[in-house]
Symmetry: C3
Subunit: 324 residues, 3 copies
């Protein structure tokens, strides 16, 4: 469990200021790194931590190199956070020797009419239904369901408990009860998509639900039927997107955010955590709608007053009219 | 994969204006339908799409029949959306040849003391615990758990990952720690209930948690212990109902809405998406409580001011008093 | 299915006013108890129910003993709710004869390099991955995943669908796409922790995600990577905690509440249901931030005005300046 700094540089590039034969035995944040750990500084706000860090070596941007070298060994790279991401990948592969093992676990239930690429990995107790297709290099971790006719692209990761292709929530009211609208579409997922634990993506009613290349979904997310999510958009945990909504490319949707159905979100839109999006958004930007936290007693007063807000506005107007 | 319009009418009724021998090969929304597709118009707001649609045939209400016939073949029915729902059912059964296959999948784990109706279908990797009962015509899709002594009625559908009858969250505080209250009740689910993927319904503490006939639950919903949900009520994705709350019949609860515990909701109440219900509702109606979406900078200003709202009201009052 | 009151007292203590040979055949709340049921009154607010209850015997605090005895048999104890919790435990064990059965269910998939204590119970269709460790007396109900190298302490209960140790949501932006940060840490869970159905706890990026002793998590909760939750803190259903946030000991987090990442919450903090915590909280107390429920038409007016709130404040200020 060790990596020489020289070997790291040989694999990933970067400008080493220090002994290439020196080894690191772990990766750690600046504040907890020991003298055996490699660390990194990506946000200049935390530069105060640099001086005091015990890290064996620190990855920094060129602008902070002098500061880092005053402390000890350093690697200068244009984007320390990206470089660090690649170090974690290298570490997993080379130092820990971990990686995907292609093949279908004997406990998985794969329908004979499903197509699983021989380089894909289907983990323990997964279910792949009739007509489903799993692309090259894709990994279903454990207890994942991919329903009938759903298609997963290449190099995707589906974490435990994911459900792809359950029926969308389609109901027609009839004499006080609900008539089921059978969900005849499927789910199509592009390449390089990662889907977090227990996240659900429903199949379309007529056409398909579509997740484009490079989309990243965290845990416990709900994607309704006929949603389309554009390339490289990321949704944080517990987000939800109701049916027939379209999200553009390169968006970020914060944790617990919710989008109602049948709306359209432009590219490069950023939604804050826990915000509810009730209308289409046509312009890139950062949007928020969250009740501010307060101590409970203060909240009670303000919340009660909020229910009279429109009336307060009218009273203000009246005062303004009567202004001498 | 084709259906003659005449056969459709023979099965489902409706007034055909067009050639009964003409066949349709798919179902599609008006705007994307090709000349081989059957489509429908249920909301008069979208009548503009009717004229331009390429659909082979369109299902419409009698009031729009002339308009539809000016374009091509049409089927007139009193409720086009309901009719369309039945078309999807027919399509699944007759054209796609899909349907439930009764029996227990060999990978499912069914306790010898559970009772599964011979016409029920228990899918791959489901768990049915001791004393549980699964009614006639009910389908557990895959990876569903039905815990000890829980009862599922007839013609229900439980989607992948559903958990029926996990312990309710019952804890008594004791010297800074929590003492478990064993959950001795069960879950009773009526007939014609549909439960979405990864939704959880907890068992009752003493009495049972009850889901009445015809209730529809979307994905990732949490139903606490001793909740009762009345007939034909529908909850959209990510909704949550805390313990001992009662919801009446014929309600709709929007996605991500949350109800606190120990309250009671009347029949015919409609709760908007993401609304938090903190008190009982005794009158039918439409209720909402959501922070409105705004661009982030505007939200920041308004949210900060909101924390002074009660004080602003007092200042307004003072001005009113001093009015000349 | 019966328990003599004298046997109950012998096991759990308490002061019986009534015949020790009398038997109870069920446990029930005051309002629904039959003359065969044992009941309890923990909240003096419900004392009116005491008089009318049909219960065979009622557990009460000493202050209510006279009132209870005027009605019939009673057990006086210092903390009736705690006592009732212990009655449910006794009932489950002695009357229903239910309890954990140690061992690994034959349908579970346990990696040969995982360590499962012989007194632990691994239920049907669970997955325990390489290097994971399950402590003494811990129960995994059914369909639980414990991923590589995650450690579960003693006497824990993990309900169906729980996912421990899926990858945290770690991504570095790169040229419009996302580079994966491999999650090299694990999850460490202390003793006496209960985790609700379909709840997810992600593994840490570098260091571990930590759940301390006695923590109670309800269903469908999301715990991000590198979160730490202090001893005896309880989170209700659908709560979410984003990455690297620390919650102190003895906190309660209401259902659907959300905490953003990289913040710190002191001990003894109580967060109301559905509140979003966007900053650190350094003082014990009760905090809330929820949009108040209203009928939809009233909400619409107030929500629209809320978007002008800051401007209203400025207009109020202007009026105040011009006051004669």
């Amino acid at each position: 469990m060790a990596l020489a700094l020289g070997d790291l540089i040989a694999e990933l590039g970067g400008e080493l200021h220090g002994d290439p034969a020196a080894v690191v035995r772990g990766l750690a944040p600046l504040e907890s790194a020991t003298s055996a750990d490699l660390s990194f500084l990506s946000n200049p706000r935390y530069r105060a931590q640099l001086r005091d860090s015990q890290a064996a070596c620190v990855i920094v941007a060129p602008a902070l190199l002098d500061e880092a070298c005053a402390r000890g060994p350093a690697i200068a790279v244009a984007d320390p956070y990206l470089y660090f991401a690649r170090v974690t990948q290298l570490w997993k592969r080379k130092v820990l020797g971990l990686g995907m093992v292609p093949g279908v676990h004997p406990s998985a239930v794969v329908h004979p009419d499903a197509v699983v690429d021989p380089t894909a990995a289907i983990g323990p107790l997964c279910v792949v239904e009739r007509g489903a297709r799993i692309g090259a290099g894709t990994e279903l971790k454990s207890r994942v369901t991919v329903s009938e006719r759903c298609v997963i692209g290449e190099r995707c990761i589906l974490h435990p408990g994911v459900v792809i292709g359950a029926d969308g929530f389609g109901l027609a009211p009839h004499e006080g009860a609900w008539e089921k609208i059978e969900q005849l579409g499927a789910v199509r997922i592009g390449n390089d998509v990662e889907i977090g634990a227990n996240t659900c993506i429903d199949r379309g009613a007529l056409a398909d639900t579509v997740i484009e290349d490079g989309v990243k979904l965290d845990n416990l997310i709900q994607i309704g039927h006929n949603v389309r999510i554009g390339r490289h958009t990321a949704l944080a945990g517990c987000a939800g997107v109701a049916g027939s909504t379209t999200i553009g490319a390169h968006c970020t949707i914060g944790g617990r955010a919710g989008l109602v159905g049948h709306i359209s979100i432009a590219d490069h839109v950023h939604i804050s955590a826990a915000t509810v999006v009730t209308r289409s958004i046509t312009k890139p930007g950062h949007y928020t709608g969250v009740f501010p936290l307060d101590d409970h007693a203060a909240w009670e007063k303000n919340a009660a007053t909020l229910k009279q807000l429109h009336a307060l506005r009218d009273r203000l107007k009246a005062l303004e009219k009567n202004r001498p």
